[in-house]
């Protein structure tokens, strides 16, 4: 797998009132590297991740994944880009309560092109097994613990075999043990296939697992450190 390089240039995101939420002049992340976005609440970490995933369109600047400037794409093209190239994990795992673990992990098969549906379902089952939930695929998700639910969400992010994983506070709702286990899993799964991994986190334990840490303050890069 060849994870795309990320290049961010002249990025500006403003609030509706015109306040600058994000101002990143330049950032380059070689494909396959892992990056932790840290900083105080309101520093712009999540906004940055939303811009990187195309959920938010910047007011100015470019966000280039490989050759693609996601900021220049239409809404549907950005959605398609997320579906094919990015795996998203959220703080709250956002599961469909009435679906099974496998149904949630393979959610993208509902809207993927016909040819991709079976591979997504197969990969979802494989990832669930890889995350220790292989026997529980048919169970409804409301019967799982918090840590297990977040693993299902990780399996969902990986089911489309994306070269990059973007995770927004994936361990924030978990206890220490579960947080550590999930963090280790994320890093392991990313590294074994050469995926890029960008994690927004308050969790210093998770942040240090990344090869690079970027601390944001007031929407700007305050500190850029490599492990």
């Amino acid at each position: 797998m060849r994870a795309p390089d990320l290049r961010v240039e002249g990025l500006r995101v403003q609030s509706r009132e015109g306040r600058v939420l994000l101002a990143i002049d330049h950032l380059a992340l070689p494909g396959g590297q892992s990056l932790a976005l840290t900083g105080a609440s309101g520093a712009g970490k999540s906004t940055f991740l939303h811009v990187l995933s195309g959920l938010v369109r910047p007011h100015a600047g470019r966000v280039i994944w490989g050759e693609t400037d996601i900021a220049a794409l239409s809404e549907d093209a950005r959605a398609a880009f997320r579906r094919d190239r990015l795996g998203l994990v959220f703080q709250d795992c956002h599961l469909f309560e009435e679906l099974s673990a496998l149904g949630n992990a393979a959610l993208a098969s509902a809207f993927a092109p016909r040819a991709a549906r079976a591979p997504i379902r197969a990969a979802a089952a494989r990832w669930l097994a890889g995350l220790g939930l292989g026997q529980a695929g048919a169970r409804p998700v409301d019967s799982f613990s918090g840590g297990e639910r977040q693993r299902i969400a990780v399996a969902r992010a990986l089911a489309g075999d994306p070269p990059v994983i973007l995770a927004d506070e994936p361990t924030a709702a978990l206890d220490r043990a579960n947080a550590d286990a999930l963090g280790a899993d994320l890093v392991r799964l990313a590294q074994q296939d050469g995926r890029g991994l960008i994690v927004v986190t308050h969790d210093a334990g998770l942040a240090v697992r990344m090869t690079r840490q970027l601390r944001l303050a007031d929407g700007r890069i305050a500190e850029d450190s490599h492990a």
Partner: protein, 435 residues
């Protein structure tokens, strides 16, 4: 094109119309869902809020059921009243209101009427081409059931072979209608008149013995007790229709000793004969009419009311559907977070649109299907009620008009469901994702 349409059998026309009505909704569905498979997700969402969804389905079902039930009932009543009149080929009576005579003689709702005299009856009975000329003499009752004087031939004409016993052979015998409140072997004294005003002892000293029971006809005659017309005349202290000393009943009657009858049922030997006889007996001293014609005219007068009713039934349903859809737009807020997640992980807007539309469509289609079932049950229940009250056998079932109504309703509401779907994809993704 028109020729082709006219050449189709009625069922094919009805089926084609139903298909044409439901087609816009179905085609819309195919267009919205093309290449997508949102249904497993929709199923999960429907289960997630099953109580709310169940309530919406019930609301649609009740509205559809009421419309369908009313339409079916109206048609059932029309058909039932027409069926009850089928055996009454031609009625001859003294000049007056055809409707009054029809209500009295076909539906046994008696009123005071002038009589056909013995001489007139004799003329009618002797006319060439008359196969049956049965007097129908009403006015008495027993235990709420009309007691009607007529002939044994009329009993056979009306209900075919008896279900039990034998027909009357003397002026003191009677045949009970299928559901009349007397049994074979019972004796009773008729009351003069009907209902609360009936004089129970006016005919004291006279009694009929029930010798047989008719098969059911689906008409008010099923509640009646039929007696020889001679019995009615005798009970009222009149001549018996035959010369004194004659000890028989039934036609021919002796015009000189025949007291008269409010109505005569006439049947011609040939089908066309009834039409000739109608003209023949339409004159200044008597009138002749087909109850079917009078009924068709009455039903024709109600056609506008029927159209208005259909329109109102349709409009009511659309209004209910509209309020349901407004509810759905609110309901979309409940599933907004799930929809936002779908968009976040890469679902195209068209897919989210299809999810919301098919979510609404599932509620609409379930409601419509349940409504048809409810309408069927409602029509059956109302029919039983009307049959019990009027003795006109009403068998209301679902027919093409109801299916057309539901097909049209489904199409219109599926079209309306585009609105919540459109609003859903315009919701702010990020704030929905964070809720």
């Amino acid at each position: 094109m028109r020729d082709l349409w006219m050449s189709l059998p009625a069922t094919a026309q009805d089926a084609a119309l139903a298909l044409a009505l439901v087609a816009p909704g179905l085609l819309l569905g195919l267009w919205v869902m093309r290449g997508l498979r949102p249904l497993p997700l929709v199923g999960a969402m429907l289960r997630r809020f099953s109580w709310v969804n169940g309530l919406f389905v019930l609301l649609i079902a009740v509205s559809v059921g009421l419309g369908v039930g009313l339409l079916a009932q109206e048609r059932g009543l029309r058909q039932g009243s027409a069926r009850a009149a089928e055996k009454f080929d031609l009625i001859v009576a003294a000049p007056g209101s055809e409707v009054t005579v029809m209500l009295a003689s076909v539906y046994l709702q008696p009123s005071d009427m002038a009589l056909i005299t013995g001489a007139q009856y004799a003329e009618i009975a002797a006319t060439e081409g008359v196969a049956l000329a049965a007097p129908i003499a009403f006015g008495d009752s027993h235990a709420g059931a009309p007691v009607v004087g007529t002939t044994a031939d009329f009993v056979t004409h009306l209900a075919g072979p008896l279900a039990a016993g034998r027909s009357f052979a003397t002026a003191q015998e009677a045949v009970a209608g299928a559901f009349a409140p007397v049994d074979v072997g019972d004796s009773f004294t008729p009351a003069h008149g009907h209902g609360a005003m009936a004089e129970g002892d006016a005919h004291a000293g006279h009694a009929y013995t029930v010798t047989g029971r008719m098969a059911a006809t689906g008409s008010p005659w099923d509640r009646a007790i039929l007696v020889p017309v001679e019995g009615v005349w005798e009970v009222h202290g009149l001549a018996s229709g035959h010369a004194p000393g004659t000890d028989r009943i039934g036609p021919p009657f002796d015009a000189e000793y025949m007291p008269g009858t409010p109505a005569v049922l006439v049947r011609a030997t040939e089908l066309w004969g009834n039409y000739a006889l109608r003209s023949r007996f339409t004159r200044s001293d008597m009138m002749a009419f087909f109850p079917g014609t009078v009924l068709a005219q009455l039903h024709g007068l109600m056609r506008d009311i029927r159209s208005a009713m259909s329109l109102m039934a349709g409009l009511t349903q659309v209004l209910v559907a509209l309020s349901v859809l407004i509810g759905l737009m609110i309901l979309v807020r409940l599933i907004a977070r799930s929809l936002a997640l779908l968009r976040a992980i890469g679902a195209p807007l068209r897919f989210v649109f299809a999810v919301v539309w098919s979510y609404c469509a599932a509620l609409i289609l379930s409601g419509a299907a349940l409504g048809l079932a409810l309408g069927f049950v409602a029509a059956r229940g109302l029919s039983a009620l009307v049959t019990a009250r009027t003795d006109v056998l009403v068998t209301a079932g679902l027919g093409w008009p109801e299916l057309h109504l539901v097909a049209g309703f489904v199409s219109v509401t599926l079209l309306m469901a585009l609105l919540p779907a459109w609003l859903a994809v315009r919701r702010p993704l990020l704030s929905d994702l964070r809720t």
